[in-house]
């Protein structure tokens, strides 16, 4: 099955030139894409994936960067030799691109119709009627319901998934031969991600267009790609077709990426971490770029740059596979170690009890700011967190997970219900009465870049926590305590006088953990602490969180949308949908035998490395919490919807072993089970 080659890239180099060493973002990559196939470029952030893609269309930042060498052949046309005017007939027409952030890729002051029409006008000579018709057809082909109305709408009237569909429609308008998709689903929820990926596949089937998919997500690559290239530090280090890559990744970096993924099978181990960071690219490399982080590296790796070793249909850039280099035998025999980690056994004592928690935000309108409605961000949540337990709160973005976390910490005003901690109802205490409990409940935020004041040194950041908690006042003891905290989270104590911007995302997240630990808390709310981090760094943070739970007997409320992380870390799982918990139980109960249709859909949408077929189990998107649907909130998207679902919200049904679910399918009433499926 070899179709003719559509795009061939040879020795492409894009450098950011500066007075000193150039920053070699892309440093000699070769690959080719065949017609109608999906080629995935995989790698962590900072490896040069996006710059590679931009360079293909010569859209790399100018004048900061420059394509210094290489050849880009699109069906025999060398794109690097074209003039800027000739490039315009290639961009959008022959090669189109979609970006990560649909929010910022659409112009907020133009209607969808105008934006699609504009693209059509650039590339084809069409009458207004024809443009209207083609636009409608395009919107229809990307699965947007009611396209006539949508053409007149503005981007802000659409959800994220819809906007990404519009972006795809605009990309398709030029009928391109190649679509470059730069992390097209990273900003979207798993359920929407599944829909968009499915759409891309379907379009590819219909039009025979090739796709260059840029992603950091192994799962997405597994489901979409025919060929996979792994990028590291500006170079492609491994290239193979999907089957052979996922069956047997060869390059140590690719192997490590797989090992660093959290999953259920790895629960009793520490996750493999890749030590260090991607090296800065403004240096002259002597040896292998991965050598410093590689467990298998030996002297030869540090001294000689590995060459590209191609063996039938796949290639790898590693000395281990070079027949002319004899690897020292000990390296090959080195087992991929995994230290055993005993599971934390939660006690039965309740650390935190949440009953009927409601957080409503008023919607105000008019001159007098009259309240016209409310956003029911959290609408009656019951949760119990045991001592030394990890409770995962799972759900799509916008379902109110984060607000639950903030409500527990009294960072937002709680409308109703109670948060009971150490026998006190926290939301009924005054600010003054609350103060002694503040330090015992801590939070770790998602974005390590905004969770520290950029104008305070690390010492001041942690010191703030210590001073607020009235512990350890004398300076010598305080310094010692800060040192011990920093060392506990795996940082050197001498970073105390540096500023947050000097650290990488993973390091900052460690500092945030140190700050949370400084007050000796009992409960830590982890609000998506790893979702802004790369896989290898995520593994480091997850390991650290498990370690400190062991050591201090902490209870975690772990808010996340990443099912892999839940599987690895959680004891119990609560699934949230539109401000309410729809299913709750132990990890095995919820993840292995989900009962609620929403949980089932959510789990099915998660890209799995093993099942390489895509499943779209749920249509549509999360309704607005300002105006939740009557009856069961999920009924519009549910496959098992029954008449009663339209009218009443399902009551809590307790299944075996405390597995709780809110669904009429499982309700026991006087007529027996209504479960008709």
């Amino acid at each position: 099955m070899t179709s003719p080659v559509l795009l061939e890239v040879k020795g492409l180099k894009t450098w950011f030139l500066s007075k000193e060493q150039p920053f070699k973002a892309v440093d000699g990559i070769d690959f080719s894409i065949q017609q109608g196939e999906t080629f995935a470029l995989l790698g962590e952030s900072g490896c040069g994936k996006s710059i590679s893609a931009l360079s293909l269309l010569r859209l790399n930042p100018y004048p900061a960067s420059k394509i210094v060498a290489g050849e880009i052949n699109l069906n025999g046309l060398d794109l690097l030799k074209l003039s800027e005017a000739e490039m315009e007939s290639v961009r959008g027409r022959r090669v189109a691109m979609i970006f990560q952030e649909p929010q910022s890729s659409l112009n907020p002051v133009l209607t969808i119709g105008q934006q699609i029409g504009e693209t059509l006008r650039w590339h084809f000579k069409l009458s207004p009627q024809e443009i209207q018709q083609r636009s409608l057809k395009l919107l229809d082909s990307v699965g947007i319901p009611d396209p006539i109305r949508r053409l007149k709408e503005y981007p802000h009237q659409m959800s994220g998934g819809m906007k990404q569909r519009v972006m795809i429609a605009m990309a398709l308008a030029g009928e391109p031969e190649l679509l470059i998709a730069d992390e097209p689903t990273t900003a979207l929820d798993v359920t929407i991600q599944a829909q968009i990926l499915d759409l891309l596949k379907q379009i590819q089937r219909d039009t025979g267009m090739a796709i260059l998919l840029i992603t950091h997500d192994l799962g997405v690559a597994a489901q979409m790609a025919d060929h996979i290239a792994v990028m590291y530090a500006g170079q492609i280090v491994e290239q193979a077709d999907r089957q052979s890559f996922f069956a047997n990744p060869q390059h140590p970096y690719a192997k490590k990426l797989f090992e660093a993924l959290p999953s259920e099978q790895k629960r009793d181990q520490r996750l493999t971490v890749i030590k260090g960071n991607v090296p800065p690219l403004n240096q002259t490399f002597i040896g292998c770029r991965f050598a410093d982080r590689c467990d298998l590296a030996w002297d030869h790796c540090h001294q000689h740059e590995p060459s590209w070793i191609a063996t039938n249909e796949r290639g790898v850039r590693c000395h281990l596979y070079d027949p002319t280099v004899t690897a020292s035998a000990e390296n090959l025999l080195k087992p991929s170690h995994a230290s055993h980690l005993s599971d934390v056994v939660p006690s039965q004592i309740h650390a935190l009890d949440i009953r009927g928690l409601k957080v409503h935000f008023p919607i105000r309108k008019g001159i007098l700011q009259r309240q016209v409605g409310q956003v029911k961000a959290v609408d009656g949540v019951n949760l119990t967190l045991h001592n030394a337990e990890t409770l995962a709160l799972v759900g799509e973005s916008g379902c109110g997970k984060t607000t639950v976390g903030k409500g527990i910490l009294q960072l937002v005003e709680v409308t109703a219900g109670e948060v009971r901690f150490q026998g006190k109802v926290l939301n009924r205490l005054s600010q003054r009465q609350l103060k002694p409990y503040r330090g015992q409940l801590q939070i770790i935020f998602q974005d390590p870049f905004s969770s520290m004041n950029p104008r305070m040194t690390i010492e001041q950041v942690i010191d703030e926590a210590i001073s607020a908690s009235k512990f350890r006042k004398e300076p010598a003891a305080k310094t010692k305590y800060i040192d011990s905290l920093l060392e506990r989270v795996g940082l050197r104590a001498d970073i105390r006088h540096r500023y947050p911007h000097e650290f990488s995302g993973g390091q900052r997240q460690r500092i945030c953990i140190a700050r949370a630990l400084a007050t000796e808390p009992e409960v830590i709310v982890c609000d998506e602490p790893t979702s802004a981090l790369d896989v290898s760094v995520q593994a480091q943070i997850l390991n650290l969180l498990r370690d400190i739970q062991h050591e201090f007997g902490l209870s975690f409320l772990f808010i996340t949308h990443n099912i892999g992380v839940v599987d690895y870390l959680a004891h119990r799982v609560a699934v949230m949908y539109l401000g309410r918990i729809v299913e709750q139980g132990t990890r095995q109960q919820v993840l292995d035998a989900p009962k609620h249709p929403y949980t089932q859909a959510l789990l099915a949408a998660v890209p799995d490395l093993n099942k390489q077929e895509l499943q779209v189990a749920v249509r549509g998107e999360l309704p607005s919490p300002a105006n939740p649907p009557a009856g069961c909130h999920f009924h519009q998207r549910c496959q098992h919807v029954m008449p009663i679902c339209h009218e009443n919200y399902p009551p809590l049904t307790v299944l075996e072993n405390g597995h709780q679910v809110n669904c009429f399918l499982y309700e026991e009433n006087e007529y027996g089970s209504t479960n008709t499926n």
Binding site: L411, I443, F445, S451, N453, R455, R515
Partner: protein, 469 residues
């Protein structure tokens, strides 16, 4: 004591301001993240140019703020009397041009008066002509030598300035050689090729220009009225120099009054929300909708009435004029805090939801500590940019207000008053142009430098630019 120091209200405030700025500079030097944007300012050519110009203006203004009264020679030994005239160090330094007052107008570098007069010539007859100036060009034997003499003086001053700058560069190179053990030649090359992180060549060029202009002015003003004289025969150069302090005082003291209001109210409104926000918003919207000039005129006229009814509260004319200047700063401050307040409120609204503020709240930090440790430091760059931008606007506002007649006291020399008097001069035939030109040039250079400085500061504090660093 041969003199009595006089501390006018604005002097005291200016000293406090300078002390605060000096302390601020020392504080900044110890904090790398705070120092970084300033280093960036100084690494830009425009930054260096504007800082040098601003510093020279500040020096003039500062010298003009050190006031004293000269002791009068008196027969009575028991009591020392002081002159009612308040002088400044600047006045004392430029005494010759201050005291050498002609009869009336004379053009720049002129040897004769601008107007014709009846005068007695040698022969005893009367003649209606331009009389010779009393203090200008007295050393010349013939008026025809004037231009040759001026050229001579300029050449001399140029030579002196070049010698000075060459010596300065030599000293700098020798210093670097001793400090870093480099060869002389490499240091020289480094300077010539501009290999330093800082624009050293621009710096020396600016220093040269500054020295050249001041030396030339000093040497020329020994014998001539460089910018001419005004209606009462006072040197226009002297007036231009004296105006600097007035302009700077208005520009800086107003911000001093405006800042606490804007920062305190803006942050309170943004952070506490609710009724506090409503009240503060109401105040500044109301204040904003009243024309500023109206408020200023009303306030200044009120003060004028007070001063007229209580003349005994002011020992000297200078004190009266100073009181009016202070009041003008005050009222300008009260009318101009709303813009900054609005910006700060918006920014605080954003910052109070920042995760590090939430983290601080979850740690149990008090409102006060959040405000002063997290919110205020992260607003300072906005405050700074606004202050620098507002400065030039205020200097221009003074000129406009004085022109309208509600500005500083008529006895106080200011650019506004100079322009105001030039209104009549422009109507004369032939036109008396030098007064207006001098005011225009000196104000233009200051405002341009301030604007350039504001530009560079804004670039340096732009988070996007910081990312690129």
């Amino acid at each position: 004591m041969p003199f009595l120091p006089v501390f006018l209200w604005t002097d005291i405030l200016i000293f406090i301001l300078l002390a605060v700025i000096t302390a601020g500079i020392f504080y900044l030097r110890s904090k790398p993240h705070l120092r970084a944007p300033w280093v960036m300012v100084m690494q830009r050519k425009r930054g260096v140019i504007s800082v040098i110009i601003l510093l020279s203006y500040v020096t003039i203004g500062f010298l003009d703020s050190l006031h004293f009264r000269v002791a009068l020679a008196s027969a009575d030994n028991n009591q020392q009397h002081y002159s009612t005239e308040v002088l400044s160090v600047l006045d004392w330094m430029v005494s010759p041009i201050r005291t050498q007052v002609e009869k009336t107008y004379s053009a720049p570098l002129a040897t004769r008066l601008f107007v014709k007069e009846m005068q007695v010539v040698k022969g005893g007859q009367l003649e209606y002509s331009h009389p010779r100036l009393e203090y200008a060009a007295q050393h010349l034997t013939s008026e025809t030598e004037k231009w040759a003499d001026v050229r001579n003086i300029v050449l001399k001053s140029t030579f002196a300035s070049i010698t000075f700058i060459v010596l300065l560069i030599a000293l700098y190179i020798v210093y670097r050689k001793l400090r870093y053990q480099h060869a002389l030649l490499t240091e020289l090359k480094r300077l010539m090729h501009g290999q330093s992180d800082y624009p050293v060549r621009t710096f020396y060029l600016m220093i040269f220009l500054l020295v050249w202009i001041s030396v030339t002015l000093v040497m020329l003003s020994q014998y001539y009225h460089v910018f001419g004289t005004d209606k009462v025969g006072q040197s226009v150069l002297y007036q231009a120099l004296k105006s600097v302090r007035t302009g700077l005082a208005i520009g800086t003291l107003t911000t001093l009054i405006m800042l606490p209001l804007a920062i305190f109210l803006g942050i309170s409104a943004g952070y506490f929300r609710g009724w506090i926000d409503d009240v503060i918003q109401y105040i500044y919207t109301t204040l904003n909708s009243i024309p500023g000039v109206l408020l200023i005129a009303a306030a200044v006229l009120m003060l004028q009435v007070y001063m007229n009814t209580n003349p005994d509260h002011f020992a000297t004319i200078a004190e009266r004029a100073d009181m009016r200047l202070l009041f003008l700063c005050l009222i300008l401050g009260v009318t101009s805090w709303t813009g900054l307040c609005r910006i700060l409120r918006g920014e605080t609204l954003k910052l109070r939801e920042a995760e590090y503020v939430l983290a601080a709240r979850s740690l149990g930090a008090s409102n006060f500590s959040i405000l002063h440790r997290h919110i205020l430091p992260n607003l300072m760059h906005i405050v700074l940019i606004t202050v620098v931008l507002d400065f030039s606007g205020l200097v221009l506002a003074e000129a406009v207000l004085s022109y309208v007649g509600v500005g500083v006291d008529p006895s106080m020399i200011s650019w506004g008053n100079m322009i105001n008097s030039a209104r009549l001069e422009m109507a004369r035939e032939p036109v008396v142009w030098w007064s207006l030109t001098a005011a225009f040039i000196s104000m233009f250079i200051l405002v341009l430098a301030a604007n350039l400085f504001a530009d560079v500061v804004r670039d340096a504090f732009d988070p996007r630019m910081q990312g690129a660093r």
